[in-house]
């Protein structure tokens, strides 16, 4: 239960060093042990033919049923993600849950363009720190440079750093010390009808 599993579930093989870059970033930001793995399986049922995109929520469902020994399962993919109400998402996480997913699809042009691979890698680190933060219970941060700032566009992603601000870092530590909250509170929320 001690380590976070970083799972590549993309169609193509990940660019060199991409997973390792994210892994070291997560270790540094959260002080946790992280293992990167190339998954054999793919969440095929997450593909929505009508939209031509993958449902991030369905991927989360798929991920959370796997690797029960891992503390968190973070899927990384090159598939374009969506949630039903939005045109796309960079990633999604279960708030206080155990699964998160981040995609490189909207994080830049093809990595074959010189310099672009590095940009995509950095953006992916930022978004993965962000989504994993949600699984620990962190909410969006008002500090635009904090990794937990909401990033509805690439401009927002580029405006932030891959690190947590002091307040979010303290909150992350506190949340981790108080034990992981896996139960989604919304199921007990009388205001969800």
């Amino acid at each position: 239960m001690s380590e976070v599993l970083l799972l590549w579930i993309g169609r193509d093989a990940p660019p060199a060093d991409l997973l390792e870059g994210v892994r070291t970033r997560l270790v540094r930001e959260y002080g946790i042990s992280v293992r990167a793995v190339l998954s054999e399986e793919r969440p095929e049922e997450a593909f929505d033919a009508r939209r031509g995109q993958h449902s991030s929520s369905r991927i989360l469902g798929w991920l959370s049923g796997r690797h029960p020994d891992a503390r968190r399962v973070v899927g990384l993919t090159d598939a374009d993600l969506f949630i039903p109400i939005l045109t796309f998402v960079f990633g999604e996480a279960q708030l206080g849950g155990r699964a998160a997913v981040v995609s490189t699809a909207r994080l830049g042009d093809t990595p074959r363009i010189p310099g672009e691979a590095g940009r995509i890698a950095l953006r992916l680190q930022k978004e993965t720190v962000h989504e994993l933060g949600h699984t620990f219970g962190l909410l969006h941060c008002r500090d635009a440079t904090c990794a937990m700032a909401r990033s509805p566009s690439l401009r927002h992603v580029d405006a932030k750093t891959p690190t947590l601000c002091r307040a979010c870092r303290a909150r992350a530590l506190e949340l981790q010390e108080n034990g992981d909250v896996h139960e989604q509170e919304e199921h007990a929320n009388p205001d969800r009808r």
């Binding site: 929520s57 949630i83 039903p84 045109t87 999604e92 969006h140 566009s153 205001d191 969800r192 009808r193």
Partner: protein, 461 residues
């Protein structure tokens, strides 16, 4: 405002939309609720209103436009964002006409919907801040019959409130008409002695002998006319508070007698031999400069020290002009009912005069001026001519004909002078908002003089 206190209700018949939108918005820290139809949404509004509603336009039963209409009717402060799968000009126009904050087409661009929600939250924070500010503006500090908005007087009244709880002697200083007796009564009412008597004595009103007998009482035959035994005010106030007004006016002999009573806590009636123990809390007041009287040998230093345990100084009205509108409002209410007249307010011109007056007689003079004005008034609004006060030189209306703009310019400059450059206060008197006043200050080139007061600049040619 914390994000948690922003309550967003998502109303959509599609569960997947409710789930994905609530999951997405809750990461911002908002409190999220969901409703599958219009009826549930309205019932949830009834239970406790939500700050923002995201409503799907097409729903079975009560549709989005109807939800919007009913919400705007009963909870106008709730912002409604309409969600629609197909935006036609008609639906958009309809939604906006009915009072929707905006409408978004499904699926949303994440940035677009983030921005709209942020905009609503920011706007609502402003509305809320405005309400709080307006309340604060209206907020008056009340200590029994004393009301104020002046920070300086507020601090004084706070001190009095604290002092009231202690048994210590209080010395109230202030010009006549500033409310020294009201403060003494308030201190008594707030003290542990409030159930016991409050006895007031005006030391300046009586001759030395009469005052002596008034304070300490007398035995039968103590002096000519002393036909019976008389209990003094000290004894009458036993267990309670004795208010000695105009203490600075008492004779040297009485100063000594009073000092003795304060030291021994016992009184001996005039012509008597037996000292009666008394438990009295003293609140003394004067409009004289006691320190100077002590220096000049007119007031005993030891008595001064006895009295000067807790000193509370009441500001003259001219130093708390921000209280004038508040006092006017209160006096109008009181006097209208006392005099059985329906006077509701004063005109802006009359208020300008009231604010400009120096008030040597302080709050009492203000009350008297208003009483007179109500008596001579002929309608619900007191006009300048009812006050019987005149504007100081320099503030008089121009004798020669002037343009409307010129008069407005002079009037604004004059009100700003009266409020010592306080724009908020001036805007209140002028009954316009601050933004408008700032625009006019710019327009007329009113600038601050070196003393901080506004003055009209020479008009540009």
């Amino acid at each position: 405002m914390s994000k948690k206190s922003t309550r967003i209700l998502i109303v959509d018949d599609e569960e997947i939309v409710r789930e994905s939108l609530s999951g997405w918005l809750e990461k911002d820290g908002y409190t999220i609720g969901t409703a599958p139809d219009g009826a549930t949404a309205l019932a949830m509004m009834d239970e406790r209103p939500w700050t923002i509603l995201l409503v799907d336009l097409k729903m079975p039963g009560i549709d989005g436009l109807e939800v919007l209409r009913r919400v705007k009717e009963s909870w106008p402060e709730t912002a409604v964002l309409i969600m629609t799968a197909y935006a036609t000009v008609d639906t958009a126009v309809n939604a906006m006409k009915t009072g929707a904050f905006d409408y978004v087409v499904k699926p949303f661009d994440p940035e677009e919907v983030s921005l709209v929600v942020e905009k609503i939250v920011a706007q609502q924070a402003l509305v809320r801040e405005n309400v709080i500010l307006r309340k604060a503006l209206k907020k008056e500090y009340r200590f029994h019959d004393l009301v104020t908005k002046s920070p300086a007087l507020l601090a004084t009244l706070e001190l009095a409130k604290t002092a009231a709880k202690s048994p210590s002697t209080v010395l109230v200083l202030g010009e006549s008409g500033t409310g020294k007796e009201l403060l003494a009564r308030a201190i008594h009412a707030e003290s542990p002695r409030h159930a016991k008597p409050f006895v007031a004595v005006s030391c300046a009103a009586l001759t030395e002998t009469l005052l002596e007998s008034e304070l300490f009482g007398h035995e039968k035959g103590a002096f000519t006319g002393a036909n019976g035994r008389h209990e003094g005010k000290f004894e009458a106030a036993n267990g309670g508070t004795l208010f000695l007004d105009e203490i600075g006016d008492i004779s040297p002999k009485l100063q000594l007698d009073l000092l003795r009573v304060l030291e021994e806590r016992k009184v001996t009636r005039v012509g008597g031999t037996q000292a009666v123990p008394v438990d009295v809390r003293i609140v003394a007041a004067t409009n004289r400069d006691l320190t100077r009287a002590v220096e000049e040998g007119r007031f005993r230093q030891d008595l001064f020290y006895r009295l000067n345990v807790i000193t509370i100084t009441l500001l003259p009205l001219r130093e708390r002009k921000e209280d004038i509108p508040l006092l006017v409002e209160r006096f109008l209410e009181q006097l209208s009912s006392e005099l059985k007249r329906d006077v509701e307010s004063v005109s802006p011109e009359a208020m300008a005069i009231l604010l400009a007056h120096a008030w040597p007689g302080n709050v009492r003079e203000l009350r008297n001026v208003l009483e007179r004005a109500i008596v001579v008034s002929d309608g619900p609004v007191l006009e300048a001519r009812h006050l019987g006060l005149t504007l100081k030189a320099g503030e008089a209306a121009p004798a020669h004909p002037a343009s409307l703009e010129e008069i407005e310019r002079r009037h604004i400059a004059s009100v700003l002078r009266q409020t010592a450059g306080n724009v908020t206060q001036a805007a209140r008197i002028l009954d316009i908002d601050r933004v408008t006043l700032y625009a006019k200050i710019r327009k007329y080139g009113l600038k601050r003089a070196e003393d901080g007061e506004f003055e009209p600049a020479t008009p540009a040619r």
